[in-house]
């Protein structure tokens, strides 16, 4: 089962390289627009019923029940060290599959609103700039050009790196204890 999922995840990676046109989901965080390759996305659900987990860093909102599975919810804005927006009717949780070691982990990402699914040709994607994007450079997979504007395409495996988040969660615990 896990092998299969890993195989899927890796075949997606190769699919990105082969196909020239990829589909991306764009969403809003604060006033900025970001994009994620839709192959990583499982579903989008309404925000709600999040249970807080104590002693966690701010960007871990808590956990939700996704049809019997307990899924952590990450506040994407807080992950980029930006102020968390208020929860509105448009607030969503995007359920994303992230590769971790030999398996995949399902993670929910809280965003202010989702926009649309766009086709972006490989030629329309520029490499990420080294600085100036105001989020960590390794979070960015590339800059997609849409109607003359740039949209940041996120590298979900980096932004939602399970290992890194677990580490941050561990250190948050020890600082709160001292």
């Amino acid at each position: 089962m896990n092998d299969l999922m890993v195989a899927n995840a890796s075949s997606r990676q190769s699919a990105i390289a082969v196909n020239t046109i990829q589909q991306y989901l764009t969403f809003v965080l604060g006033r900025e627009v970001f994009a994620i390759n839709i192959l990583n996305i499982k579903e989008i659900i309404e925000y709600g019923n999040v249970t807080e987990v104590p002693k966690m860093p701010g960007f871990i909102r808590g956990v939700i029940n996704l049809r019997g599975a307990v899924v952590p919810v990450i506040d994407m804005a807080a992950r980029f060290d930006k102020p968390t927006a208020e929860i509105t009717r448009k607030t969503c949780i995007v359920i994303i599959e992230v590769a971790h070691e030999d398996s995949t982990q399902v993670v929910g990402v809280m965003v202010d609103a989702v926009n649309e699914v766009l086709d972006i040709e490989a030629g329309e994607i520029e490499p990420s700039p080294n600085f100036g994007a105001n989020i960590r450079a390794d979070f960015i997979e590339g800059m997609g050009k849409i109607a003359g504007k740039f949209v940041i395409i996120l590298n979900v495996n980096k932004v939602l790196s399970v290992g890194e988040i677990a580490e941050l969660a561990g250190s948050a615990r020890s600082t709160s204890q001292l």
Binding site: N49, T51, E52, P54, K55, N65, G68, V70, P72
Partner: protein, 732 residues
């Protein structure tokens, strides 16, 4: 069933048998007269050898055959069991285990294995040296296993009267397909001898509608009169030997050979009389007359036919006993077949997962029913939830196994290690019927082994030292298990020297684990031995003393949500107490609310609930006095609100849940008590694995997620916090 599958079953069975053999040998060492055990060992070796023949595992057959010959003599009382023989047989058992491992890895034994095998065989042969012809027999055994060999001719024990050869034939299913005609063999037999009697075995025949015309189901028992020698008779069947079961017994065979044959015959449910007739031991007439006699006697005392035959001196008691044993075995296998089913553990896990989902769904239904305030609906859901609870209990019970088999494995460990150390140590086992989850059993075995070895190596003194202290020369190691408030407690205790408090402390200070000024209780000091890299043994022995074990032991136990503590009295001994949760999957929980979140506390740990009085609460704020007077007892408490850094002010009324774990009582201050809740524990997952105080997630009837508290961990954290405060005070 493919050959591969049956080979797997063979491997599994052989391992079980070897385990039984080992256990029986260890009992024999204490009590050499136990015939039951001798038989058990013989049967185990015999079955392993016999089944190995089915798969053509010659290296197992040839080795096991020698062992079996020795056991055979033991069983006949020709060799008496002593310590050295038990030791040798234990080694033999281990070696057969190794050979089985080879089979499992589908390797053939290498030169080293062969060397070990030769060494063991020559040691076994010492016991057989009375009959020098045994040795070549052993070498030929691999090819001749089916023929049960013509050994022990010189022996002068009872032989069966018949002067005919006895040939037992079971043709393979594929005989026709490979172009053979069973009758041509019978016809050929007639050319070199006379068939005195032929009995067709019908047990192998399936029902008419299931019969495959191309398959051969035939079997014959033949009483054969001939001057030809065994080799000549065997050569008749050269063409079919590979897929047929052929047994040939010479005239005037030893009774034990008939016994073997009876045991070897496939488990057809035969009548005792028929077995005897078919083996040629009795004629049908003899059987008939004894049957008649039985019928007349039946009204009086229902004497079994075997007894009747013995009374009439028609057949020797040994033969009847063997036949009886065979019948009993057939019955026993049937019984155990109907009582036990081997199930893939994954299927069981799947069932438990489903039951978990069922509980969650059931809780949701109950919630909806309560909302609609329809009394009929509420009643129906409550009936369902009672049933679901029962289903849950039986599903979990499926995974429960007794700890006895894990414990009895230590008989061997203790025996070997005490020999190695030159100490006399006895093992006492109690509470072996205590049940716990299978996954827990599997994971606890290694830590236990370590603790046992440690106790024997460091705890129990040498015989001289013990005598000097006025203790008995032999040390005693005790393994005990019992249930205690939702946990299982496993104790490893010895009556050795006890832990040396000062030595441990000195070592810990030297290693920088604690500072010299720190004041520690005895328990705290003993627990230091679980720190990584800690070992007080001056000399590193083969067994322990490298200081890599105890921290691993503690880590393994903590991974099972368990704890370990030590009690020790200088000069009197040490007790290590492991405490583990009974199951890892589904528990009875107690639901509480703190701020907006729901938390589940394992119900088994909850003693009572009381209200936190305003006076006490104010005292805790003004004086930082986090304890109350509970009927004259001091009850320290943790405020979950503070512990989990919840926002907002506490409600006007707060409650204390009094928990007990191990010997410690602690209070948890919560906002609201909700009640009992069947909790399906979902693992924390990778992202939360470092969170302390939380043991897992669970899903409530409403669909929202609640957190399961890890009470032992919270208590530990509370204790550490207390110690840190002490340190601060000390420094000031």
């Amino acid at each position: 069933m493919s050959l591969d599958e049956s080979l797997q079953i063979y491997i599994m069975e052989s391992r079980d048998l070897l385990e039984q053999m080992e256990e029986a040998l260890l009992t024999l060492e204490q009590n050499p007269q136990d015939e039951e055990k001798i038989n058990a060992i013989f049967r185990a070796a015999h079955t392993i050898k016999g089944s190995a023949g089915l798969f053509g595992l010659d290296f197992i057959i040839s080795f096991t055959h020698v062992a079996e010959s020795v056991l055979h003599k033991v069983r006949n009382g020709e060799i008496t069991i002593d310590e050295s023989l038990v030791a040798l047989l234990l080694e033999v058992g281990d070696f057969i285990g190794k050979l089985i491992d080879h089979v499992a890895e589908s390797k053939t034994p290498d030169a080293d294995t062969q060397a070990v095998s030769d060494a063991l065989i020559s040691r076994l042969n010492v016991y057989l040296s009375a009959e020098s012809d045994m040795v070549p027999a052993a070498e030929h055994a691999a090819t001749e296993v089916a023929a049960m060999t013509t050994v022990d001719e010189a022996e002068s024990i009872e032989r069966v009267e018949t002067d005919c050869w006895h040939v037992s034939l079971r043709f393979g299913v594929n005989t026709f397909r490979s172009g053979m005609d069973p009758f041509s063999f019978i016809r050929y037999m007639k050319t070199i001898g006379t068939i005195a009697h032929l009995e067709t075995m019908q047990q192998g025949f399936p029902a008419l509608e299931e019969m495959d015309a191309e398959s051969c189901y035939l079997g014959f028992e033949i009483s054969y009169q001939t001057d030809a020698d065994k080799l000549a008779i065997e050569s008749i069947f050269d063409f079919v030997r590979d897929d047929c079961e052929i047994h040939i017994l010479p005239p005037h065979s030893k009774i034990s050979h008939y016994i073997d044959l009876i045991e070897k015959l496939s488990n057809e449910d035969l009548k005792l009389g028929e077995i005897l007739v078919k083996c040629g031991t009795l004629t049908p007439n003899e059987l008939e007359s004894s049957l008649q006699q039985q019928a007349t006697q039946q009204a009086m005392d229902k004497e079994p036919i075997g007894q009747t035959l013995v009374n009439q001196h028609m057949v020797q008691p040994d033969v009847v006993n063997a036949a009886l044993e065979k019948q009993k075995q057939v019955k026993e296998t049937k019984n155990s077949e109907s009582n036990f089913i081997r199930i893939d553990a994954n299927k069981l896990d799947e069932l438990i997962n489903l039951v978990g989902e069922l509980i969650i769904a059931g809780a949701g239904a109950t919630l909806v029913a309560n909302k609609t305030a329809n009394s009929e609906m509420t009643e129906a859901t409550s009936t369902i939830s009672t049933l679901v609870e029962q289903v849950r209990d039986s599903a979990l019970a499926l995974r429960m196994v007794q700890i006895g088999s894990t414990f009895s494995r230590f008989n061997r460990v203790v025996r070997d290690v005490s020999k190695e150390l030159g100490k006399e140590i006895r093992l006492e086992i109690s509470g072996e019927e205590t049940e716990l989850d299978k996954t827990v059993v599997e994971k606890i075995s290694d830590p236990l082994t370590h603790l046992v070895r440690n106790s024997m190596d460091h705890g129990i003194e040498s015989a001289e030292a013990r005598l000097a202290k006025g203790k008995s020369a032999y040390g005693t190691l005790k393994l005990n298990a019992f249930h205690d408030s939702g946990s299982i407690v496993i104790e490893v205790s010895d009556d050795g020297a006890g832990l040396n408090r000062d030595k441990i402390l000195a070592k810990a200070i030297e290693k920088g684990l604690v500072s010299a000024e720190q004041s520690l209780s005895d328990g705290d000091i003993y627990n230091l031995i679980f720190e990584a890299g800690f070992s007080t043994a001056d000399a590193v022995s083969n067994l322990s003393g490298r200081g890599v074990g105890m921290d691993v032991v503690r880590r393994n136990i903590q991974a099972l949500r368990g704890t370990i503590n030590i009690q020790s009295q200088p000069g009197l001994g040490t007790t290590m107490r492991i405490r583990l949760p009974l199951t890892l999957a589904i528990i009875d929980g107690f639901l509480v609310n703190v701020a907006e979140s729901a938390y589940v506390i394992p119900l088994d740990m909850v003693v009572e609930c009381i209200e936190l009085s305003t006076a006490d609460y104010e005292a805790s704020i003004s004086d930082q006095r986090d304890f109350i007077n509970l009927r004259g007892e001091v009850l320290p408490y943790l405020k979950l609100r503070d512990e989990f850094e919840c926002k907002g002010a506490p409600p006007a009324r707060q409650n204390i849940v009094v928990l007990q774990y191990a010997e410690q009582k602690i209070g948890l201050v919560v906002d609201k008590l909700i009640g009992e809740f069947q909790t399906v524990i979902k693992p924390l997952g990778k992202m939360f694995e470092h969170v302390k105080g939380i043991g897992g997630f669970t899903i409530l009837g409403s669909g929202s997620v609640a957190l399961v508290l890890d009470v032992p961990r919270m208590m530990q954290l509370a204790n550490i916090g207390k110690n840190k405060e002490q340190e601060v005070v000390g420094v000031n």
